[in-house]
């Protein structure tokens, strides 16, 4: 085919004029499909614009509302909590001097928020919370992490289809039911097995709480390991690694950030868990390192006391301060988890 380079539009020189792009196209009357589309769009364009404007703003408002609620809760909690610092000497949140049985002045950490000389040490509550949350996290890491690895790497599709929803169902059991089981059944078994002084203790609470966070850890671990590209597994098997070596030396290290994040998130849940610990830990605000001792967590203290104190009083404000501290701890834990997950995304280039 020869081209007429002189012609401004570079049309093929020997091409007949009759083959205009119009001919041979589908028509409705004298209109092409494109004419119809342009016309009908014109008719709708204003309505569409208004619709999209409204939808956009609604979605924006929804997103903002979520942030606003969190901010308001945050402000309220800290405002009320801060009042406690004026009503009670800050040192008293750690401990007070009391007289012991031999009339010696000793420094004691006690939570006894009653009467004129109420004692507001949050140390026993912090100890209580961690004495439940740490063992619960350890138990759940072993069981939940194992379960996540099993689901992601070993289970066949069929088994996975059954086990994964079942585990997520476990997360849906009302915590009061778990608390009830701990209180009536588990506490007895634990006491018989370990011959503990206290029937209700931190360990019983930890087992109960771990039932709630096992699904969290299992599910996120499963997601994290499944996000590890299959190419890495192939590479590992291609070098002669066995399944176990591939899981342990390639897949888990590649997904370790996700697994770690799941553990931290689980611990956040454990610290915030209330109903189970109210029912299963005995609620004695003791300063102790013994996990078979009764303890009182921060959450349980707030739940048990806040409804029964006069508003604005020292105890009321002290409880808010406890809440603010709890909020801060879980906030930091979640933040760290989020950062770790982001780092993993970058590392694996997801």
């Amino acid at each position: 085919m020869k081209y007429d380079l002189q012609s401004s539009n570079f049309r093929a020189a020997n091409m007949p004029n009759s083959t205009s792009p119009e001919s041979g196209l589908k028509r409705f009357g004298d209109k092409r499909i494109s004419d119809l589309l342009v016309e009908s769009r014109q008719a709708n364009v204003n309505r569409q614009r208004v619709q999209e404007f409204i939808i956009e703003k609604l979605l924006f408002a929804g997103g903002m509302a979520a942030i606003l609620f969190i901010a308001l809760i945050f402000i309220f909690l800290f405002k009320e909590g801060a009042k406690a610092l004026f009503l009670i000497k800050p040192i008293e949140f750690i401990g007070t001097h009391i007289l012991d049985f031999d009339n010696n002045r000793v420094f004691a950490c006690m939570w006894q928020p009653v009467g004129e000389s109420g004692k507001y040490s949050i140390v026993p509550l912090l100890i209580g919370s961690f004495l439940v949350a740490l063992p619960a996290t350890v138990i759940s890491t072993i069981l939940g992490g194992g379960c996540g690895i099993y689901l992601a790497e070993i289970a066949s599709a069929k088994v996975r289809e059954i086990v994964k929803p079942a585990i997520e169902l476990l997360a849906g059991i009302p915590t009061v039911v778990i608390g009830f089981l701990c209180l009536t059944l588990l506490a007895t078994y634990v006491q018989n097995a370990f011959h503990t002084t206290f029937r209700l203790n931190a360990f019983v609470g930890a087992i109960g709480v771990s039932l709630v966070i096992i699904p969290v850890i299992a599910s996120i671990t499963d997601d994290a390991l499944r996000a590890v590209p299959n190419e890495l597994r192939e590479a590992s098997y291609g070098l002669g690694a066995t399944r176990w070596e591939t899981i342990w030396k390639v897949v888990v290290p590649a997904g370790i950030s996700g697994v770690t994040a799941s553990i931290i998130l689980g611990m956040g849940r454990a610290l915030g868990e209330t109903m189970i610990v109210v029912m299963a830990t005995g609620n004695a605000a003791l300063v102790t390192g013994n996990i078979f001792s009764s303890v009182r967590t921060m959450t349980a203290t707030i739940a048990a006391e806040l409804g029964a104190v006069p508003q604005g009083g020292p105890q009321y404000c002290a409880l808010f301060l406890v809440g603010a501290i709890l909020f801060f701890i879980t906030f930091v834990l979640n933040l760290v988890a989020e950062m770790i997950i982001n780092r993993m995304r970058k590392k694996l280039r997801l």
């Binding site: 190419e231 590479a235 590992s236 291609g238 070098l239 002669g240 690694a241 066995t242 590649a254």
Partner: protein, 261 residues
């Protein structure tokens, strides 16, 4: 086939496929293929997407069966031993038959740990010996000069071409006899591709190489023998120069000249 005669005369057969048929579930991916891969030669497998090229070479180190439900009929003989026999040790098979994949897939570990991964699997923990193996493998894969001062850096930060040469080094570190390459340049730019091709040219002195490629020019440049696969069947198998200048079958010619595929 005339070529079979020619091949047998000159060189030792490293791998021999005998009436290999390969199923994924019920889907027949490879249909009754018989061919040979000669020692220290590059054999290219060409063919359109989905024709079973990758499956064919993956049947040699039995890597497909990890993630898929597969069924195999026929034989894959490596040094006259069927790799699908019951007594075959998969770990040993995969040490002898190394593999390089389509997308560079270094582990998210340091360069050193990537290359040392294989030897460590087999229990080599002596630091000095590992150092030597790592250096040897990186030299062989033409990467040593670029990374020798950065062995402890994560492999993820390197370019695609460097990553792919790292993957080759990783495969070489367990001293394989065969290298399977599944479109090793598909994700690389022309410069990186040229370097890999040079490398293959060098590596074939020591290893039997089977390479799958989409790129006809690449097959023509680097391979000694070429097999043309279509719908799971081996249409033609010949010395590369023969195949590209004087193909036996019309369909081969159509594919090579770019009329389909």
């Amino acid at each position: 086939m005339k070529v079979e005669h020619g091949i047998k005369g000159q060189q030792k057969t490293k791998i021999k496929l005998e009436e290999l048929t390969f199923y994924y579930g019920k889907y027949k991916a490879i249909d009754n293929v018989s061919m040979e891969f000669l020692e220290c030669k590059v054999t290219a497998i060409i063919g359109p997407s989905g024709c079973g090229k990758s499956t064919l070479i993956k049947s040699i180190n039995r890597i497909s069966e990890i993630t898929n439900d597969v069924q195999v009929e026929g034989k894959v003989l490596l040094d006259n031993k069927n790799v699908y026999d019951r007594d075959v040790d998969l770990v040993d098979l995969r040490r002898r038959v190394g593999m390089v994949f389509q997308r560079p897939n270094p582990f998210p570990k340091s360069i050193y740990d990537n290359v040392a991964f294989g030897p460590r699997l087999y229990g080599v923990n002596n630091k000095k010996r590992l150092d030597e193996i790592v250096e040897y493998s990186l030299v062989k894969s033409a990467l040593w000069n670029e990374v020798k001062d950065r062995l402890n850096q994560s492999a993820i930060g390197f370019s695609g071409g460097q990553q792919q040469r790292l993957c080759i080094a990783r495969a070489l570190a367990v001293d394989p006899e065969v290298l399977l390459m599944d479109e090793p340049c598909a994700a690389l730019d022309p410069t990186a591709t040229a370097r890999i091709e040079e490398l293959i040219e060098d590596l074939k002195k020591y290893y039997t190489i089977a390479i799958v490629t989409h790129n006809m020019q690449q097959a023509a440049r680097i391979s000694d023998y070429t097999g043309f696969l279509l719908n799971g069947q081996l249409i033609e198998y010949n010395i590369t120069t023969e195949m590209f200048t004087n193909p036996d079958k019309k369909v081969t010619e159509d594919y090579i000249t770019g009329r389909f595929g």
